[in-house]
């Protein structure tokens, strides 16, 4: 099996507070993964470690067999939850910004994606609604030809129409060579996209498995399973 990301006993502490504790996960190429769990469970911390924005306190994380660094950043497209744009930017500037920053950014695709998301290049980013901003961030993240996409809460605060557009875009970018990891607690909407899930709670993986097998064995949806596990 070829893994694009593996962690061994990966831990992260913020002073006394543990965010991740001895997490072992293996992520195969060509699949869509869901990392699911309540707020504060460690989902975002795990993605930030994979994106190379945080350093592990213990254990190891490798992407394409390398520790996070310049190379891994060049093959990983990370969609953060936060707003990272400058106030003066219009959508066009954000596109150029990404184009300058990443060699694998596909400007043509980005243009199409922006259009599909019903956004206009001349719009000021500060004037965008939350849904529009979410669509823009996703367009940018998915317009890179990355090997690994890390999507942190892509559907948070997104209206139903935007949600469908985002799901379509995620499916469009996904292929045999790419791998997608989605962190979310809005499981209902994304569970049909997921090959495999990890439930993360208090910094530890408390359940994992293939979604179709879990549905088959337990006769309930992943959403329902989540509610049972985390009630």
């Amino acid at each position: 099996m070829e893994y694009i990301l593996t962690t061994k006993q990966l831990s992260k502490y913020f002073y006394q507070k543990k965010a991740l504790e001895k997490v072992d996960i293996n992520i195969e190429k060509g699949k869509i993964y869901g990392i699911l769990g309540p707020n504060g469970g460690g989902k975002s911390t795990l993605l930030k470690l994979a994106a190379g924005l945080l350093k592990p306190s213990g254990g190891e994380i490798t992407i394409d067999n390398k520790n996070p660094g310049v190379y891994t950043k060049s093959i990983v497209s990370y969609l953060p939850e936060t707003n990272y744009f400058y106030k003066w930017m219009r959508i066009k500037d954000a596109l150029n910004f990404f184009n300058d920053l990443y060699v694998d950014f596909d400007m043509e695709n980005a243009g199409k994606s922006i259009e599909f998301m019903k956004l206009e290049e001349k719009e000021k980013i500060t004037s965008l609604s939350k849904g529009m901003l979410g669509r823009l961030k996703l367009s940018l993240a998915l317009s890179r030809n990355a090997k690994l996409y890390l999507l942190d809460e892509p559907l948070n605060g997104i209206d139903p129409v935007s949600r469908e557009k985002i799901i379509t875009s995620i499916l469009d970018v996904f292929n045999k060579k790419s791998t997608i990891i989605i962190c979310s607690h809005l499981i209902y909407y994304i569970e049909k996209l997921l090959d495999y899930i990890f439930f993360l709670s208090e910094g530890q993986v408390i359940l994992e498995g293939e979604t179709e097998n879990l549905r088959n064995e337990r006769g309930i949806s992943i959403d329902k399973l989540y509610q049972e596990v985390f009630q």
Partner: protein
């Protein structure tokens, strides 16, 4: 396509394709959508569709022409079997439901005759 997330999605898609074959919505011998096309159309993971097509091929409902894609069988025998499989399933579900309500098989026959 709306899914019931409580059972495996690939099984639901298989059932829906079988249904379409039996009612003629999918024509025998016709080319099926590619894995990507179908995944995009019903918005599910392409790996799920891959599994659907593997299963359909295993049941000889579809076959692959190398480099050309997946085609629906034109063997009447298999279509006939499918028809039986689906009607069996509907009848089984109906009988189970009625039995659960406390109807005996004799009574079900009576009710059915009256209804029809």
């Amino acid at each position: 396509m709306e899914f019931n997330n409580c059972s495996p999605i690939y099984l639901q898609i298989i059932d829906s394709i079988k249904q379409d074959v039996v009612v003629g919505k999918l024509k025998t011998g016709q080319k099926m959508l590619s894995v990507r096309e179908l995944a995009g159309k019903i918005k599910v993971n392409p790996n799920t569709i891959q599994r659907v097509y593997q299963e359909l091929e295993r049941e000889k409902i579809t076959f692959t022409k190398r480099g050309m894609g997946t085609y629906l069988t034109d063997e009447e025998k298999i279509i006939k079997l499918l028809e039986e499989e689906i009607s069996d399933k509907i009848i089984q579900e109906f009988i189970n439901g009625m039995n659960k309500l406390g109807f005996s098989n004799d009574k079900i026959i009576g009710i059915l005759q009256e209804y029809l």
